[in-house]
């Protein structure tokens, strides 16, 4: 590693001194770049926690806007645009990038400037994007990212010469290491004007553009770095015909094992806090219905769900590490054969992977699929993937009914195996459904699978921390709104109508009456009326059932801890009913947000209703069979 082998990493030279242009009072700057150029890393470095994730009006492409405070109390909005290879859009999110840059996006003002971020280790190809972006005529800063890799691998570039060639300033940075960001700050404070006119190639002719890029690169003394040795070594291992799939399986098992057992001490800690604070509330408040509502309803309901926060954060930590390190692309490669057997194209893989976190974001991510039928097929199967909202439900029931025994020593226990079985069940349901859809109503020609394998990188703490922070925020917000509201309503329904001025026995309450009304329908599945109430409330969101059961059993026993909940469940339903409940949750579409997003994405009620009915039928049938089979085996 030598600093001399490379030009100084932080120089920015304006091609010619020109008067400060329009940027003097800039309001918004867009960050644009090809996928894998480190766009989001730069965005995170510059904005930190001050970012807002929303949607572009009319479309569901995620809009990430961050605020930056600059010197002299100036504020600037940074917009992180979806990654593009060109400004010729082939999918919805690429269309967004193009429309925002051209000022054709409704309700989004045209940005006052552009930061074009390119990978300095792959400048030849990445410079292709410079031609269309520079021809926009907006004040532009070209940021060459990954300066550290370029230097380590013996590449170099003369930023001064490149700036002269492009007619606009150029900065060489390492966003991940916060290196060389000063020129970026300078640009944001508005020191540069519009690009000087330079000769650009005909943007439609890619071979010509590529020639132009080579020419510009050689004028800027660009020396491509040597190939990433470590990436090749690791790929030899991770893509080895035998070792590759074995490692893939081990990674998956390890993730589940840690989520399931490693999270326990953290969850115990949160639970302890929930219980202590609940006791404290019960102690300071005088005996009254309000105190009962707080302790049984709020602490029992919301508390039962909030306990799962550490587990969900651990899941996202792993997803973050796998994505940021570059292993996810290899996993996609290994899994592609399975996807292709299901008739799905490779592009469906990424949305389906993110469906493990949440079906809503996965369905939004299907916007990258150009083919409408492929897109609808992916939307329809996404909710089968085991989302993080199922995790609390699975954990609760597995912990209550399955004793922990080692299967493969300490590496794999029975509970982890059960959890993995459920993930597999969801995946198989998705694949089978896709097969049926793709060979019937949604038949298409196969579209090609193109996937870039980025070099392996060490994930940065900052980006992992930001992901977890985002997730924690979403989870806590849900606990504080949907789950809190259902907990309170449920508690009220469980205490009305008043009998002799006091609460009725729970079976006689409104909630109990509703539960008992649905009981005949769910009895064949091995569920009782309490589970029935849980199934109804969990239509809002799956994890609500945990809170609901927490409240109901809490009212019954006056004990709202989750160990108490496990024991109560264990006493209250059979093992057949428990397995049936797991199967039911694996298949059913109990999530109003998903229904709403599918309606919006497919432009009508047809697909979401069909999906809801199909998944519901599958859940009912599957749970019925599970109860029948397990009960037969046990007895």
């Amino acid at each position: 590693m030598s600093d001399q082998g490379c030009c100084s990493p932080a120089t920015t030279i304006a091609p010619e001194p020109r008067p400060p242009g329009k940027l003097a009072r800039a309001h918004s700057i867009a960050i644009v770049g090809p996928p894998n150029s480190g766009k989001s890393t730069l965005f995170n470095q510059l904005t930190g926690l001050r970012q807002k994730v929303g949607n572009y009006p009319g479309v569901t492409v995620e809009q990430r806007v961050g605020k930056m405070r600059l010197a002299h109390n100036k504020e600037i909005d940074l917009i992180d645009l979806p990654g593009v290879y060109s400004l010729e859009p082939r999918s919805e999110d690429e269309q967004v990038t193009r429309d925002v840059l051209l000022g054709e996006m409704k309700d989004v003002p045209r940005p006052d400037g552009v930061i074009l971020i390119l990978d300095s280790t792959n400048l030849g190809r990445h410079l292709l994007l410079a031609a269309p972006v520079l021809s926009l005529g907006l004040p532009t800063l070209v940021v060459l990212n990954m300066a550290d890799s370029l230097r380590e691998r013996g590449g170099q570039v003369d930023t001064t010469a490149l700036a002269r060639q492009l007619g606009t300033p150029v900065a060489l940075v390492s966003a991940a290491k916060s290196e060389g960001l000063e020129p970026v700050m300078e640009f944001l404070t508005g020191q540069f004007g519009v690009p000087a006119p330079v000769e650009l190639p005909v943007i439609n002719d890619i071979p010509k553009c590529r020639e132009w890029a080579t020419h510009i690169g050689s004028r800027a003394a660009y020396r491509a770095p040597s190939p990433p040795l470590w990436t090749r070594r690791l790929d030899k291992l991770f893509l080895h015909p035998v070792a590759g799939p074995v490692i893939f399986a081990m990674v998956v098992i390890a993730v589940f094992q840690v989520i399931f057992t490693g999270a326990v001490p953290l969850m115990d800690g949160v639970e302890w806090m929930v219980n202590r604070s609940g006791e404290w509330v019960a102690g300071v408040l005088p005996e009254s219905p309000v105190r009962d509502l707080l302790v049984e309803g709020v602490w029992g309901g919301v508390g039962a769900v909030i306990v799962f926060l550490p587990q969900i954060l651990l899941l996202f930590l792993f997803i973050g590490i796998l994505e940021d390190s570059g292993y996810m692309a290899r996993a996609a490669l290994i899994a592609d054969r399975t996807m292709s057997k299901a008739g799905l194209q490779g592009k469906s893989f990424i949305p389906l992977l993110s469906a493990y976190a949440c079906a809503v974001s996965a369905i939004m991510a299907t916007r990258t699929i150009e083919n409408r039928r492929d897109r609808i097929a992916t939307i329809l199967i996404a909710p089968f993937m085991t989302c993080s909202a199922r995790l609390p439900v699975y954990t609760l029931i597995i912990a209550a009914f399955i004793p922990e025994r080692p299967l493969l020593g300490h590496f794999l226990g029975t509970r982890t195996a059960a959890m993995m079985g459920l993930y597999l069940l969801g995946f198989l349901a998705a694949v089978a459904t896709a097969r049926v859809l793709k060979s019937s109503v949604l038949k298409t020609e196969r579209t090609p699978f193109l996937l870039e394998m980025p070099p392996y990188r060490r994930p940065t703490l900052r980006s992992l921390a930001l992901r977890l922070y985002d997730r924690a925020k979403i989870f806590v917000r849900r606990a504080g709104t949907v789950i809190l509201a259902t907990a309170i309503i449920l508690w009220l329904l469980a205490h009305l109508p008043l009998v002799d001025g006091g609460a009725p026995p729970i079976e006689g309450s409104v909630a109990g009456t509703i539960g008992r009304a649905v009981e005949p329908v769910i009895e064949p599945l091995g569920f009782n009326w309490k589970i029935g109430i849980g199934l109804i409330t969990s239509l809002a969101a799956r994890e609500v059932i945990v809170g609901t059961l927490g409240t109901i059993y809490g009212i019954e026993s006056g004990d709202e801890t989750s160990v108490g909940l496990q024991q109560a469940l264990h006493k209250d339903i059979t093992i057949g009913g428990a397995v049936a409940l797991l199967v039911f949750f694996a298949f059913a579409m109990q999530c109003m947000s998903t229904v709403a997003i599918v309606r919006r994405e497919t432009g009508g009620w047809k697909w979401p209703l069909l999906q809801f009915a199909y998944m519901g039928t599958l859940a009912y049938t599957g749970a019925f069979l599970a109860n029948l089979i397990v009960t037969a085996i046990v007895s």
Binding site: P241, G244, R337
Partner: protein
Amino acid sequence: MQADVKSDAPGAVATGLTLAELPFGFEAVLDRLDLPEDVARRLMELGFVPGHAVAAAHSAPGGDPRVFRVDGSEIALRRETAARIHVRTSPRP
């Protein structure tokens, strides 16, 4: 534009090698993308520009898809796509 849109003539081109036949570790020069215009365009944006070098790298377990090194990056393609990208053997220095 060098991309031929020729979906109606299967097997019309018999001469030369396709990327699907390029053995592991070998390098060749891209010749022609026998794919629909929009796919060819995206492939070119990813580096598959006629005249440029391409090398066959790893493949997924089972042999498909395969990873190709082209223009400084590694791109995975399924066999069905690789079979429609024609290459010629590179003049070795």
